[in-house]
């Protein structure tokens, strides 16, 4: 029940923030810090003594037994990890926010967190969808109210694009709901009922494909995967930095959660061509986004594509992990979920640092920057650390995920694995180039004096880098939750 209380506090706090006036910044920061601390302590306390799958800490409130609507919450190893991630990302976003007197801004950020927590914790597809949709509204306002020069069109594009993706999820939920009634005569929206393999097996093949397609469209838009990504670079670029942190760190989590949290329980019923499609799209995304990232002159845009590319690993892991057998499959799937977590941490770290680079130098393009290591060594070094984490340097969190995905999927992908490796080489090269052009080399004298990170700023950033390092060195902190979750379903 404790996690539900934390959620309730968050909902209340997000409402109160709108009325806190000039103190909204401190209020929001303190709230999100308290929430993050509470969530981390809770998960340490609940999950580390031992976790072997299934939902714990469930709560259910009957809304209408006739239509089978219950407001039910619960948490499992995987969602707990994502809730921790979400709370850290929102904390980071608030830490780099500098709109000292705008309660609407802070209120909207906390509302986004409410949406993310809600959709992760709902064990009922109705509220899963409701929260899924609700996340869009505060983000739309955040981009629209505080975004860059093209905010008008970009905020609408973000909203309409992702909304079109989401409505397909709704159709799939309807189909499940309707078939469950015709099969068992019970109206229910519970995950446990609608996403159970024996029930799903009774659905005619055509409608199985229909349901899976609907879910996939919705999730792949959010992930994002190659042909469904065009909202992403614009939104990431136009959004203010703290919102970009949330978009990259927390919104891509939604897509990953959709795959592993919603679709995975049906794994034995997913036709293999779907899985191959996911693998193909994942590889395409990896290659396409890596190449596109290489040719960006704006670092923010480059990082946006890099972030999308590394989510390609998630869909590869999902497809090949289910196709795989035994330990390889489990390593693959756990690696995919680990990648969601690691990617969230890394992009949050990178975009936060990029924010400092942008505010301290006034630039976030390659020609504007150059050799800033000379003036601000701490900032440059930390950014280098982020870039190395993002390209998958051993010892950092990203490597663990990519390594387990490649090791696990090798047996399934066969020679296709070379494409993955190839894209990793591209990824490494443009990350290094970025470091070379922006951080090292001759100093761009037009910049004048550049202030380095202040003590509190560097403390926060070092803390984030250390957590990436710790998780990279001791993946055992995270893996038991994931394998426990997988074991609970199999």
């Amino acid at each position: 029940m404790i996690i539900e209380y934390i959620f309730a506090v968050l909902v209340a706090a997000s409402m109160i923030t709108f009325f806190t006036g000039g103190r909204s910044r401190q209020f929001a920061r303190l709230t999100s810090l308290a929430i993050a601390a509470a969530v981390i302590i809770y998960s340490a306390y609940r999950f580390y003594p031992g976790y072997d799958g299934g939902y714990i800490s469930t709560f259910s409130l009957t809304l209408s037994s006739y239509t089978g609507f219950y407001f039910s919450l619960g948490i499992n190893g995987f969602t707990d990890l994502l809730v921790v991630l979400g709370s850290i990302i929102v904390l980071a976003a608030l830490f780099i926010s500098d709109r000292s007197d705008d309660p609407v801004y802070y209120g909207l950020i906390l509302l986004t967190e409410v949406g993310i927590f809600g959709l992760l914790m709902s064990t009922d597809l109705f509220f899963f969808y409701v929260f899924w949709e609700v996340v869009l509204i505060p983000v739309y306002f955040l981009i629209g109210l505080y975004g860059g020069p093209r905010k008008d069109s970009v905020s609408l594009k973000f909203l309409v694009y992702t909304h079109i993706g989401s409505v397909f999820i709704l159709l799939s939920i309807f189909t499940l709901y309707s078939y469950y009634y015709s099969e068992f005569g019970i109206l229910t929206m519970q995950n446990a009922d609608l996403l159970s393999t024996p029930f799903f097996a009774t659905i005619p093949y055509f409608y199985k494909v229909f349901i899976l397609t609907g879910f996939l469209i919705g999730f792949l838009v959010k992930l994002p995967t190659f042909p469904l990504h065009s909202w992403l670079p614009d939104s990431y670029e136009e959004a203010p930095y703290p919102v970009t942190v949330i978009l990259a760190g927390a919104l891509s989590v939604m897509g990953g959660f959709g795959l592993f949290g919603i679709l995975y329980p049906l794994y034995s019923q997913i036709p293999s061509f779907f899985l191959w499609l996911l693998i193909a799209l994942g590889i395409l995304s990896l290659i396409y986004f890596s190449f596109t990232a290489m040719f960006q002159s704006n670092i923010k845009r480059m990082m946006a594509y890099a972030s999308a590319a590394s989510m390609g690993f998630v869909s590869i892991a999902f497809g090949s992990g289910i196709l795989g057998t035994g330990n390889n499959g489990i390593i693959d799937l756990a690696g995919g979920m680990f990648q969601i977590f690691a990617h969230g941490l890394i992009v949050a770290f990178l975009f936060s640092l990029l924010y400092y680079i942008k505010t301290h130098t006034g630039h976030d393009t390659f020609y504007g920057l150059g050799g800033i290591y000379r003036e601000s060594p701490v900032m440059a070094t930390l950014f280098l650390g982020g870039l190395l984490a993002s390209l998958g340097l051993p010892g950092l969190a990203g490597f663990v995920a990519e390594f387990s995905i490649i090791a696990g999927s090798y047996g399934i992908l066969g020679p296709l694995i070379y494409l993955v490796i190839f894209s990793m080489i591209i990824t490494a090269s443009y990350h290094i180039w970025a470091a070379q052009k922006a951080l090292y080399g001759p100093y761009n004298e037009n910049l004048g004096q550049v202030r380095d990170l202040s003590r509190s700023e560097s403390a926060a950033m070092i803390f984030m880098l250390i957590s990436i390092l710790v998780i990279g060195l001791f993946p055992r902190i995270v893996f038991p939750l994931l394998t426990g979750y997988l074991g609970g379903i199999a």
């Binding site: 209408s64 609700v134 739309y140 109210l145 709704l170 309807f174």
Partner: protein, 488 residues
């Protein structure tokens, strides 16, 4: 089944069913009489408001079992009761906001409003086609005059267009009813009606669809609606696009679901085609407009498209031999829920225009509204979110059930079309929100119309409350059952 005689009508038992109608009618005449004595608009509006509330209370206290009076020309059931209350709400909605813009002849305006409402309530409580027709005409004729109020070139043009198309639609209805009688041998709608002549029924279907389709503003019959909603006074537009449209919609539910129950295939093909065109036309046209009132007019057509999906659902369930009673009752309940939300979201949106001190404002005229009056901007945003079908508003609930039963009856392709339409509509509703929140403030002033602002805010609150009121659907399900349970 003519078991009741005149004596039962005069008996106190039956008379209580007619109290609401009597109250409304008498209040209408009182206002007309009062017009000779005083010209205080407030007095007229007060009486109209009071009598509407009183009629609503009287409706709530009458027994809720199905009951026929006046030789079956009136059938009181929960379905009718629900819609009667909706119609009263839609009239209440504009009573106070219209005060500001009705400059002369207020007595006639409010008296007409009450007479129109009387017609609506009669339509709610009958399963007899002749009575339905007469009440529908009472509503139409009254609204022709209402549309012309506030006599300017624009309202006259609006009213003229409305009048001429309305008259044409009336003749279609008459024709359709004649053929219906020929095919069925009765004007009384009821379950399990015997069909004497299928071709005649087919002609009746076409004619009645065209006739009633005009009023609901279904695609090929929608042209008048844009000009009339756009040209009329704001609160009259609100009334035309909520009350008057829902009367026709309710009559269509009675006629096409009960009367044409045997024609599953034809009703399905016809209405699916119309629904697809109506939704798509409304949404696509709304994409390019920059006038707020025109936008609401187009969105009103798109919403009509979602409403008439109910006929596709029920007729397809019948045609394909699925679990008809389960699906049809649920679909009608979904339509009832949608109608309720629709009154508040659409009515509130039109009434909002009364707070802007300009005839038919463009988007740029309401830009920066969030800084001028945050509450009003918030209220309108909630209504627009509801129209777009975003969660935590009743608009989501309405669309949710409608599309759910569309999938339930296995019309997945129609559900995809509908849901994509709804997703596209997000674009133009959010464009208005964008103007209100992050465009520079416009020079256009806001009027200090407290009635209109209050109406907008109240509808916003109601729309949100409907989402959280989960027992509503089971309740409506019970009400919808009474429609199918009639023994006419």
């Amino acid at each position: 089944m003519i078991t009741e005689s005149i004596s039962t009508v005069t008996g106190i038992q039956s008379l209580q069913y007619l109290y609401p109608l009597i109250v409304l009618g008498i209040a209408g005449f009182v206002i007309l009489g009062l017009g000779l004595v005083t010209s205080s608009k407030r007095a007229y509006a007060g009486i109209a408001f009071g009598s509407l509330v009183l009629a609503a209370i009287l409706l709530l206290v009458i027994p809720q079992n199905t009951y026929n009076v006046l030789s079956d020309s009136f059938t009181f059931n929960q379905f009718g009761l629900y819609f009667a209350i909706l119609f009263l709400i839609s009239s209440l909605f504009i009573t106070l906001p219209s005060l500001k813009n009705i400059s002369a002849k207020g007595d006639i305006f409010y008296a007409l409003l009450l007479f129109v409402t009387t017609g609506m309530v009669v339509a709610a409580f009958t399963m007899n086609l002749i009575v339905l027709f007469i009440s529908f005409e009472a509503v139409s004729i009254g609204t022709y005059v209402l549309a012309a109020f506030h006599k300017t070139r624009r309202t006259l043009e609006a009213s003229t267009k409305y009048f001429f198309t309305g008259v044409v639609s009336t003749s279609f209805i008459i024709f359709g009813l004649a053929f219906f009688y020929q095919a069925m041998g009765t004007f009384q709608l009821g379950p399990a009606m015997a069909v004497a002549s299928k071709p005649a029924l087919l002609i009746a279907l076409l004619f009645l669809t065209i006739g009633f389709g005009f009023k609901v503003a279904i695609f090929p019959m929608h042209q008048w609606a844009i000009d009339t909603y756009y040209g009329s006074e704001n609160s009259v537009s609100a009334f035309l696009s909520t009350g008057s449209k829902l009367v026709a919609f309710m009559i269509m539910i009675k006629v096409f679901i009960i009367g044409f129950a045997s024609m599953g295939e034809d009703v399905f093909l016809l209405f699916t085609l119309l629904a697809v065109f109506t939704m798509t036309y409304g949404n696509i046209s709304a994409l390019s407009t920059t006038n707020v009132k025109k936008l609401f007019a187009y969105s009103s057509i798109a919403q009509a498209g979602y409403l008439i999906l109910v006929f596709s659902i029920t007729s397809y369930a019948m045609w394909s031999g699925q679990n008809y009673s389960f699906i049809a009752i649920n679909a009608v309940a979904a339509a009832m829920l949608y109608s309720l939300v629709y009154i508040f979201m659409k009515g509130g949106a039109f009434v909002f225009l009364n707070t802007v001190d300009k005839e038919s404002p463009e988007f740029s005229d309401i830009s920066g509204l969030a800084r001028k009056s945050p509450a009003l901007a918030m209220g309108l945003s909630i209504l627009l979110l509801a129209l777009a079908g975003i969660p935590f508003t009743g608009g989501f609930t309405g669309k949710f059930y409608m599309f759910l039963y569309l999938v339930d009856v296995k019309l997945w392709w129609l559900a995809i079309i509908a849901i994509l339409n709804s997703a596209i509509s997000v674009f133009y509703y959010f464009r208005v929100i964008m103007y209100m929140y992050w465009k520079p403030e416009s020079q256009v002033l806001m009027t200090r119309s407290r009635a209109a602002s209050a109406t907008v805010l109240i509808s916003a609150v109601v729309v949100v409350v409907i989402f959280f009121f989960f027992p509503l659907f089971p309740l409506l399900h019970g009400y919808a059952t009474s429609l199918f349970g009639v023994t006419g």
